[in-house]
């Protein structure tokens, strides 16, 4: 059965290729960075927790000291006029495979059903590469060379989402969520329904901005304010309070660099000069939408 270990090996091999191609171009800092990440994917389970911790510190040291060089310019083979709209078809192979795999393969016994979407994504990459090599007949290493060029354009930001997920785990061990929930529960004025709704929705957005993730903020804020005050105190409908409260958190996700995979990674992918340009573009939607969520909870949850 194909599960995460096989996918990790495949991912590790791709990062090995990024590292090797970086060496070939004398970009040694980049080579060390992608090489360490390759080692993590290929053998992370054998390093032990402390060993993995040292690997993280080494990766961060490389990124923090500016060892990664700026991206270089790739070779443009064609300008698209020769292949025309047929170029859009291979671009669809990955999403279509991810979709088909998610629906068709869960009970096949071939694939770990818990990881079906990620593994279908990997299958889609392989199918797309086969189709592209058969059709375009590029030089043998072209796909990996282009992949290396793009990952260098993203740079250290490629690792930020995984690092933030790790920070969330450390916060959980240290009990940070309970501390914030305790403080939030103490500062709310009692007696006013609208003030309580305001505190819950804004608290969700703010704590999501700090954690970079509404999933981390939801249990803390709902246990501190949502359940005791809004549901048990004022008799609010729990489904409405929670559903819209979560969406108030999503408004926070739009306004924070901590939500790296949504806000920082795309800025790097699109090669924007301002790292926070995507966040700035989103604030104008997020703030009025947060106000809408506050009004919606107030109107809908309390008959």
């Amino acid at each position: 059965m194909i599960g995460l270990p096989a996918l990790y090996t495949f991912t590790g091999l791709i990062f090995v290729a990024y590292a090797a191609l970086s060496v070939a171009r004398k970009r040694f800092g980049n080579a060390a960075f992608w090489g360490l990440l390759a080692a993590s994917f290929l053998a992370g389970d054998r390093f032990g927790n402390f060993g993995n911790g040292l690997l993280v510190l080494a990766l961060v040291a490389l990124a923090g000291t500016g060892a990664l060089r700026k991206p270089d310019v790739g070779d443009q083979a064609e300008d698209g006029s020769r292949r025309g709209n047929a170029l859009f078809l291979p671009a669809l192979i990955i999403p279509v495979t991810a979709l088909a795999g998610t629906f068709l393969l869960p009970n096949s016994g071939l694939i770990d059903p818990k990881q079906i979407t990620l593994i279908s994504l990997g299958l889609g990459v392989i199918l797309a590469l086969i189709a592209l090599y058969a059709w375009l007949r590029p030089p043998a290493l072209a796909a990996l060379e282009e992949g290396r060029r793009l990952i260098d354009a993203v740079g250290w930001a490629a690792l930020l989402p995984q690092m933030l997920a790790s920070l969330g785990a450390v916060f959980a061990v240290a009990g940070v969520g309970d501390l914030v929930g305790g403080i939030a529960g103490q500062v709310i004025p009692h007696g006013s329904l609208f003030a309580a709704v305001l505190a819950y929705a804004i608290g969700m957005a703010l704590f999501t901005m700090i954690m970079g993730n509404a999933f981390a903020a939801f249990p803390v804020m709902t246990a501190a304010i949502g359940l005791p005050l809004l549901v048990h105190g004022f008799g609010g409908n729990p489904a409405i309070v929670c559903a819209i409260g979560m969406l108030a958190g999503f408004c926070g996700t739009l306004m924070t660099p901590m939500a790296a995979n949504f806000n920082i990674v795309p800025a790097a992918l699109l090669e924007l000069k301002d790292r926070n340009a995507v966040v700035k573009a989103q604030v104008g939607t997020a703030l009025p939408l947060l106000a809408c969520n506050i009004i919606l909870i107030y109107w809908l949850a309390f008959p």
Binding site: L136, A142, T222, D274, L289
Partner: protein
């Protein structure tokens, strides 16, 4: 109560304000939080290492880059631009509005991974939005950045305020599980229908901003 572990939050906020390298800021915050909670340095490093190793699935998405890069080598971005310049009525704002509707509706059906920043925004949506803006006016560097950033923002907003309408998405299951632990039983469908009013508000607010973007581009 020991409030010292909150130092990690302070480090993150200050680090981002002063635009230090985020990887270094996050690592410093993790180490400081662990130490403040009374753990030894070696123990904190081990906790961080375990969390990092357990979170590797987050970085799998980068295996798609060879496919995207190869398509770009053969002119995918230029072709996307060429297609959009043929449709005179497809302005930047209308194009992004249409993309947001597609993203919200497909996410509401649970199809969150069929689009995204590496898969669709970089190779298709952003070049198309840029080309549509370029057709009418000369783009300066600031405006070009704004159009690209708005393309990424539109993908995020469409995804966030569509996916919660689907009953089997992570956030809905998290709410069901959390309420269950607290003795309140709700069906996923009863949660997901209450995501619809916010989804409509998001479409109206962001849609209005996109059409406004068109007006500012014309000047």
């Amino acid at each position: 109560m020991n409030y010292l572990p909150l130092i990690g939050i302070a480090i993150v906020v200050v680090g981002f304000l002063f635009r230090l390298n985020p990887l270094a800021v996050v690592t410093a915050a993790a180490l400081a939080t662990g130490l403040a909670a009374g753990k030894g340095l070696a123990e904190v490093i081990a906790i961080l290492g375990k969390a990092f190793n357990d979170s590797r699935y987050v970085s799998i998405v980068w295996i798609a880059l060879p496919v995207i890069g190869l398509l770009e080598r053969y002119g995918l971005q230029q072709q996307a631009r060429r297609v959009i310049t043929r449709f005179r009525r497809a302005t930047t704002g209308r194009l992004l509005l249409g993309y947001m509707l597609f993203r919200q509706l497909s996410a509401a059906l649970g199809l969150t991974s069929i689009a995204g920043h590496p898969q669709t925004v970089r190779p298709l949506v952003a070049p198309m939005a840029e080309a549509a803006a370029e057709r009418d006016t000369e783009l300066d560097e600031v405006t070009r950045e704004r159009v690209k950033a708005m393309s990424a923002a539109t993908d995020n907003i469409g995804l966030f305020f569509g996916e919660d309408i689907f009953i089997a998405i992570g956030s809905i299951l998290l709410i069901v599980g959390f309420l269950d632990q607290n003795g309140i039983h709700v069906a996923p469908l009863h949660l997901s229908v209450w995501a619809i009013p916010t989804a409509i508000c998001a479409f109206l607010i962001h849609g209005a901003r996109l059409l406004w973007l068109d007006r500012t581009l014309k000047k």
